[in-house]
Amino acid sequence: MTQDAAVEQQRPPAGIPSFDDDLHVDAVLVDPFPTYAKLRDAGPVVWLEKYGYYACARYDEVSSVLSDWETFTSREGVGFNQFFNGITETSLQTEGDHHDEIRQVEGCPIKKGPLEELKPRLKDFAENLVESLKGKDHLDGVADVAMAMPIEIVTDLVGVEGVTQEQMFKWGVAGFDSIGPLHAPRTQPALETMMGYMEFADENFPSNVREGGWADQLFKNGAAVGWPEDFARGVMNDYIYPSVDSTISAIGIGLLLFAQHPDQWDRLRADRSLLTSAIPEIVRLASPLQFFTRVATKDTEIAGVAIPEGSRVVVMYGSANRDDRKFENPDSFDITRDPAGHLGWGRGKHACLGKPLARLEMITLFNVLADNVERFHAGKYRFQPNNIIRSLGELELSITWAQEN
């Protein structure tokens, strides 16, 4: 199927609930839940007039679309504009054996073995971070806590020389904004920022990557399976921005949730085996990535609704994770909830590449916090609009430290 086949029809199809909502205005990006509830209640498939796309807001349909990559492909792009959707040097927007090969090469440093070696380093980092927080009266839960580990550790692991952490974060924000629709105010500037990144990458990779780092391994392992350098440079994108902002979002929202639910914090402190269900529960409620898209490769249907070949379908992770058809009291934070089944890391072939690392970062950090923190108190906080990522921009945080034994 060509890109031309994915040209969106603009007229609402007959018999499908149709909405003129814009998902990419600030008010919806920071508080999407009333919009999600409205779309879920309208039916299993809705039509979004602003986009000319179908959308699935309920859990079952999002899950089944994500599970069937042959019918609902990522090959035509998973974003909301043709520039982002045209990027093909990524496992995110490839399928089949080609996808599997990219994923295997780029996944090397995020496997169980290398992560096992990383554990002591993450623990030291978390302990030093917590010690440094103890002298401060007022904290920003985002800048002082949530951003520290993903930015510092991941930037270092990827191993690119001459990139500041601030630059890495800016690329992260822009990388996700660049996925949005062209009508959204953040998209165009973000696409330009990412063009700047591409130029930087052309000049600096692989010449300025640290030996033994992720980037270095990627170029070497890519060459071993016959990738041209340009292709490996494109795949490197998968390390640069998805690895940082998504984890920052989850950690920040996790801090806020524990501040708002001290009973859950007490439970976690008393029983650390709950970390393996607490972290997925945070990711369910946070849903750092709110939505992506897929394209139908043939005339098909979703829940009995006809979907013509070439249609683009929005899959709404953030809405699916709040669907009361699937989750009991979906808006409540319960760290004992069954960790399986939520869509915060996606589903199927394109489930989050960095999940093992993100999960380890969060388990390590919250475990060390549980050793040291009796209570989090949240003051003012605000969400920072982004075309894909729902993340706190600021979180006033004060901490009651546990008494030293």
């Binding site: 599997d100 295997q104 169980k112 073995g113 399986a340």
Partner: protein, 64 residues
């Protein structure tokens, strides 16, 4: 049919557990698959095939 898992590839996504809970489980740490039955009954073939299709890292192989 005979199932083989490339444990070195597994990221513990647990997609296979959702698709075929009779055949796959996750360890207590939730970061690696446990194969409950390496020669499951023919009646489970569709579920095993679904697990293979869902695995993000193509870590599951089936022979026969």
């Amino acid at each position: 049919m005979k199932i083989q898992i490339e444990y070195g590839m597994c990221d513990g996504h647990g997609e296979c557990v959702i698709a075929a809970p009779e055949v796959f489980d996750l360890n207590d740490d939730g970061d690696e698959v446990i194969l409950l039955d390496d020669s499951p009954a023919e009646s489970l073939r569709d579920k095993v095939n679904a697990a293979i299709k869902l695995c993000p890292v193509a870590a599951i192989r089936v022979e026969g």
